[in-house]
């Protein structure tokens, strides 16, 4: 090879003091774990919130402690809003991208750290502050905001005349999201620079693990999308604090009260456009890293190269590109021209093509493989199942004629929870079980893991499949007490069924919490490559030392060289030199 100077420069020493090493650390691995712990705290809060409002939906007369009697509609809406915001931003965006991406992207491309370590630390701390600001909304006088995670004006723009949580609580919501945007922009910029600049010799783009492709495309989406939400947030903040009216037309009346008369001339549609121009890429920001993780795990435990590597990488890029062209499909009922709706519908259906390429390639990877049903493998297969199920209901919603009656019903809730939320969570679980040995040097318990998988997998379908029927029958979302309507009242048994399923599935997560925290100290110890995997993260000690690599790595082949004919082992790591491979083959024969 040419004597190109190699960009890996090893940090002299890991910092000694506890604070610099574990709290204000610039080491990408520590930051990755910090993000994962933040997401774990967030997902716990989000799940408890969902239990509370599910309990209210199933048993409207149940008195839950802490609500001052029966749950009031605004309390219900506050729970839904905070559940959505916490889950979308601080779980689905934080864990797969900022968490796993931070930990494993540099190692998988053979770098010693991210391109901008200090910026990386800054991103985490801004994200944490954003989370605390959001949670603080619960403790303001009016309580948390009540307009859903999409924060549609005019309700969100006029202050507390539109509801008790719309005063200070909503202001904190906007501030939190603006901070989150800033942190995500910095993270995205860091990921892109790292992927482009810091790859080890031999790590060409087409030799990158598909996880890296997932994180890279996601970072590009983040870079282009969060700036839009930031702009929208600035305008909304101006509307709220400086009494401008970008999103507020004149002459509105809320709860028999007029907002201050200064408001005139704006349009809530402007927010819908800005929000969904961010919002649609955002759902891919949640799912693309999970797609990468799934590809990685499926290939590993099928003991086969990934089927159609290039098609997998290009389809990630295609999905990323298309995600910026379809925001209007969230706005079919906004009164848009039917011709615009036709265009948005067509573009949305096109996303089915790269999605199908990915699905068939996952199946092709499994086909004829020597499949090992480990816990991460089960979660990866579960991801494919959920992605197909949720994707198919997406084809319904992509068509304006079907979307008009289904809009804002439980059908939509079922669709996006399966395809975006639960599928992405399965990607996160798969990644956690898969990389846990690398992060902590020990393995999580397999029996507990598999039990956790089956309970979660079946539970997720039990929760969300019935919601499709409810949606088709006309049950509307965001209603605290829909039971007054006769046709909705007949669905009460389904509501109770879903709530019970949610409690059981939630309780099953205790298995995971126990397994996770117990295994950190007491799990079975493993050597550095327990899954017999090929990529660079498995060539370093577990957990990897500061600076990751003892000797600067060099990459000689693609990431998924499993079961190579003529080679003794059934996996051929990326970093083995051709001489080592030849020697090993001779020794074998």
């Amino acid at each position: 090879m040419s004597a190109q100077p190699h960009s890996v420069t090893h940090h002299a020493e890991a910092p000694k003091s506890f604070i610099r090493r574990y709290v204000f650390s610039t080491d990408h691995k520590v930051i990755g774990i910090q993000y994962l712990l933040l997401a774990l705290a967030a997902v716990t809060i989000g799940m408890v919130l969902s239990w509370l409002f599910r309990a209210h939906l199933a048993w409207p007369h149940l008195i839950i402690p802490g609500f001052g009697g029966l749950m009031r509609p605004e309390q219900y809406l506050a729970l839904v809003t905070m559940h959505g915001t916490i889950m979308v931003f601080f779980v689905l965006t934080v864990a797969p991208q900022s968490g796993f991406g931070n930990y494993f992207l540099p190692i998988q491309i053979g770098a010693d750290d991210m391109a901008f370590p200090t910026l990386n630390m800054l991103s985490f701390w801004i994200t944490l502050v954003a989370f605390l600001v959001l949670v603080a909304a619960f403790f303001t006088p009016g309580g948390a905001p009540i307009n859903g995670w999409t924060s549609y004006p005019t309700l969100s723009a006029v202050g507390s005349v539109s509801g008790p949580g719309q005063g200070m609580g909503e202001t904190l919501w906007v501030v939190s999201i603006a901070l989150f945007c800033l942190a995500s922009l910095l993270t995205a910029l860091n990921f892109i620079s790292t992927t482009i600049e810091m790859r080890a010799p031999g790590m060409s783009l087409m030799r990158m693990p598909l996880t890296v492709w997932g994180w890279f495309v996601t970072a590009v989406l983040g870079l282009l999308a969060f700036g839009v939400l930031l702009a929208a947030g600035i305008l909304l903040l101006l509307d709220r604090l400086a009494m401008t009216s970008f999103f507020v037309p004149a002459g509105l009346v809320f709860n028999d009260t007029q907002p201050p008369l200064m408001h005139a001339g704006g349009s809530p549609l402007l927010w819908e456009h800005l929000f969904w121009f961010f919002g649609h890429p955002e759902v891919y920001i949640a799912i693309l890293p999970a797609m990468g993780i799934t590809s990685h795990i499926l290939s590993n435990f099928s003991r086969k190269p990934i089927f159609g590597y290039k098609a997998m990488a290009y389809s990630l890029c295609a999905i990323g590109f298309l995600s910026f062209t379809v925001w209007g499909h969230h706005m079919f009922v906004s009164g848009m021209s039917p011709y615009s709706a036709l265009a948005f519908s067509f573009l949305t259906l096109i996303i089915g093509v790269p999605s199908a390429i990915k699905t068939f390639n996952w199946l092709g990877t499994l086909w004829g493989g020597k499949i090992q049903f480990t816990t991460p493998m089960l979660f990866a297969i579960g991801f494919v199942s959920l992605f197909v199920t949720g994707g198919l209901s997406g084809l319904f919603l992509a068509q304006p004629a079907i979307d008009l009656p289904l809009h804002d019903t439980y059908f939509v809730i079922a669709h996006f929870h399966i395809v975006m939320a639960v599928a992405a969570i399965f990607g996160i679980f798969g990644g956690l079980y898969y990389w846990f040995p690398k992060m902590f040097g020990r393995r999580m318990n397999e029996t507990l893991g598999k039990t956790h998988f089956w309970l979660t997998f079946i539970g997720a379908y039990l929760i969300f499949m019935p919601m499709h029927w409810m949606g088709i029958m006309g049950a509307l979302r965001r209603y605290a007490s829909p039971g007054g309507l006769g046709f909705v009242a007949r669905m009460d048994p389904i509501d109770i069924f879903i709530t019970v399923a949610a409690f059981v599935t939630g309780a099953a997560q205790l298995l995971f919490y126990f397994n996770f925290f117990w295994s950190i100290r007491h799990g079975e110890k493993v050597e550095e490559n327990p899954w017999h995997a090929t990529t660079l993260e498995w060539s370093v000690p577990s957990p990897p030392p500061h600076g990751n690599f003892v000797a600067a790595p060099h990459v000689y082949r693609g990431p998924y060289e499993y079961s190579v004919p003529g080679y003794t082992e059934d996996y051929l790591p990326q970093h083995l030199t051709p001489e080592q491979v030849a020697q090993s083959a001779e020794a074998g024969t």
């Binding site: 600049e197 010799p201 929208a232 101006l238 200064m262 349009s267």
Partner: protein, 213 residues
């Protein structure tokens, strides 16, 4: 990768050797470009939002008289463009290794930024105190004029101010040999971007809102 070296190797071994190629941009510069890309999207959204409410308002006011508003804005444009020129000269000097000359030009650039801010603030004060324009009210028509004007120019002014501080750090660091010429160039990218944003704000906020004769 060296071309002749590559030719000497067997085909299978010709891969990119890692490190700074193939895009040959250092990572700070790439990071700045990416930041500017996302920042340009934020400004685009604000400008699009402003254009949207302007088109949607039947009573959009056109309040800016030739003097003082347009004259001042033109002067600010000239100052900002000139500061971009001094920035180019500073980057050029930095690359040639002439540290004191580079620092001098960066200081000129900062002076331009400060002058811009001073004139801009005087204009804000004039609008607020004498014309009674607030973000939610103005004497002429649609209340959104104030919100759009203060929002857009305020965010831009914030960028100029941060830029002046950033350039100050760069000038100090380059003068004391803590920073390389590359760092000066990266700060130049930021400054030109701030200048470029103004090139959109000047026509879209000022020139199309000139008071009709």
């Amino acid at each position: 990768m060296n071309h002749t070296e590559a030719e000497a190797q067997p085909i299978a071994d010709i891969t990119w050797a890692g490190g700074p190629s193939p895009l040959a941009v250092n990572k700070k510069k790439l990071g700045m470009w990416l930041f500017l890309l996302s920042d340009s999207i934020t400004f685009s959204c604000l400008l699009i939002g402003y254009s949207y409410v302007r088109l949607a308002s039947p009573d959009w006011p056109r309040p800016f008289e030739f003097y003082p508003a347009i004259v001042k804005a033109t002067l600010m444009t000239v100052i900002l463009l000139t500061s971009s020129l001094t920035m180019v000269l500073g980057v050029h000097a930095a690359h040639k290794g002439e540290r004191s000359r580079a620092v001098k030009y960066i200081l000129f650039t900062m002076l331009g930024g400060v002058l811009f801010d001073v004139i801009h603030i005087s204009e804000w004060i004039n609008l607020i105190i004498h014309e009674h324009v607030t973000p939610f009210h103005n004497p002429w028509g649609s209340p959104l004029l104030g919100g759009a004007f203060f929002g857009l120019t305020g965010l831009h002014m914030l960028h100029v101010t941060i830029g002046v501080i950033y350039l100050g750090v760069i000038a100090w660091g380059f003068g004391t040999k803590r920073f390389a010429a590359e760092d000066v160039e990266v700060s130049g990218l930021y400054w030109h971007f701030v200048d470029l944003v103004w090139m959109f704000i000047f026509p879209l906020v000022y020139l199309i809102n000139v008071a009709p004769k």
